[in-house]
C-alpha cells in the first residue's frame, strides 16, 4: 500500500545541520533529474545512489542517512556536483555524513592511518629518522651505481630551497627504489628542491576520515614548517 508523504511531519534536522556547515550546498534545489546517478560508478552499490541519498536528506530520513555505509564507498570524486545543473554538493554531504559517525566507529583502516599521521607525520607511522635514512641510502646507491648521477643532491630540510616536495609515504617506506626516477628528473632539470621533515608525507587520511581537527593540524604543522623554518616559496605534491 502506498502512503502520501506528510509534509507537515517532516523534520529534516540533519539537512539543516549540514546546510549550516555548507551554506552553498543547494540541497533544496535538486530537480531529481538523476544526472548525478547516471554518471556515478558507486550507483547501486549497497542499493544506494546520489539521487536517493539526497531524497533521504530532504525528506528527513535522518537516522537512515546517518547509518548508510555508502558514505564510505563514495569517493567524493565530485563528478556528480560538476555535472549537476543545480550544483547540489553531494560530496560535501557525504563528508558530513562521515563526520556524523562517532570517531571510533569510522572505518579502522582510515582511522589508524589518520592517527599515525598525527603522531608520526605520515600514515605509515614510520619515524622521521627512518625516512631520512632511507632517502640518504637510496641516493647514495644511485650516486655509486649510476655514474651520470654521481653529483645528484637529495636533501631533507634544506632551508631556502625553492620547492618543498611531499610524497606519499608508501613510496619511501615500501618501495624506496621508486624514489630514484623522480630525483633523476629533478636533477636533470636543475630543480632546487628539498623534502620537509615535518608532516613529510603527501597523503592526509584525516581528510578521508572527516576529522576536521586532524586534517587541519597536519596541514598547519606542514605549512608552518615550510613557511617559517624552511622558507620555501613553493610546495609540490608528487604524482
Amino acid at each position: 500500500m502506498s502512503l502520501p508523504i506528510e509534509l507537515n511531519d517532516m523534520a529534516p534536522e540533519f539537512k539543516e545541520t549540514v546546510k549550516e556547515r555548507v551554506p552553498g550546498a543547494n540541497f533544496d534545489l535538486c530537480l531529481t533529474c538523476g544526472t548525478c546517478t547516471a554518471g556515478c560508478p558507486a550507483s547501486e552499490i549497497f542499493e544506494m545512489d546520489p539521487r536517493k541519498l539526497l531524497r533521504m536528506l530532504v525528506l528527513g530520513l535522518d537516522e537512515e542517512i546517518r547509518k548508510t555505509h555508502w558514505a564510505w564507498v563514495c569517493t567524493m570524486c565530485a563528478r556528480c556536483v560538476k555535472a549537476c545543473p543545480m550544483a547540489v554538493d553531494i560530496p560535501r554531504l557525504v563528508y558530513n555524513i562521515r563526520a556524523s559517525w562517532p570517531r571510533e566507529k569510522r572505518p579502522k583502516g582510515i582511522l589508524g592511518s589518520c592517527d599515525q599521521h598525527i603522531r608520526a607525520g605520515n600514515a605509515m607511522g614510520v619515524p622521521t629518522e627512518d625516512f631520512i635514512w632511507t632517502v640518504e641510502d637510496v641516493a647514495e646507491e644511485i650516486r655509486t651505481h649510476q655514474p651520470q648521477f654521481a653529483g645528484m643532491q637529495v636533501t631533507v630540510d634544506r632551508k631556502g630551497a625553492y620547492m618543498a616536495i611531499n610524497q606519499n609515504s608508501r613510496e619511501p617506506v615500501t618501495e624506496p627504489d621508486e624514489l630514484g626516477p623522480l630525483w633523476k628528473i629533478l636533477h636533470l632539470v636543475g630543480a632546487d628542491w628539498t623534502y620537509p621533515s615535518v608532516m613529510w608525507a603527501g597523503e592526509n587520511y584525516c581528510l578521508f576520515l572527516a576529522d576536521d581537527q586532524g586534517w587541519r593540524y597536519i596541514l598547519e604543522e606542514f605549512v608552518d614548517h615550510v613557511d617559517n623554518t624552511l622558507k620555501c616559496p613553493m610546495v609540490v605534491n608528487t604524482e
Binding site: 558507486a42 570524486c77 649510476q146 628528473i185 636533470l188
Partner: protein, 167 residues
Amino acid sequence: MYAQWIREGKLPVNSDWNKDLKIKFTVQDPCNMVRKSLGQSMADDLRFVAKSIVGEENFIDMVPSGINNYCCGGGGGALQAGYTDARRAYGKVKFNQIQATGANYVFAPCHNCHAQIEDIGHHYGGHYNVVHIWTMMCLSMGILGENERTYLGDDLKALGLGKEVQP
C-alpha cells in the same frame, strides 16, 4: 611541471624506443588533480607528457576522460575503508574503460589510483601494467636503473639498460 620542463627542452625525452615496439598506453586523470583542482589544462598537459614519452600513435584515451573522467574507486580513503567488494564493484567501470582502450600500460599519476587500478586489473583478469610517469620518462631517456622497474612488464624489463644519457 613535467610538461613545462619538456617544452623548455630541459628533459630530453623521446618516443623512438616505442616506434617499432608500438606498446599502447592510456592515462588515468586523478580526480583531485584534474576535476577538483587544476582542471582540463592539467589533463591536456598529462597527455602532452604521455605522448612525448610513448609516441602520439601509441597513446589511446579512455572515454570519457579529462575533467569528465570516472574516478577509479580508490580515492576518498576507499583503499583503507575495508569495503573491498564494494570498492571493486565501483572499479569495474574503470576496468571496462581501460579494457576498451586495449592499452598494455596505464599511467596513474596518483598513488591511490595506482594501487586501485592494479588491484582491479588483478581482480578482473586484466593484462595491463600500471606505471608512474617518472618510470617511463626515465626509460625514454635511457636512465632507468635495473632496480627501478618493479611496475614494468616483461616487454620492457630490460629495455635500454646500460645506455647513458648526455645531458
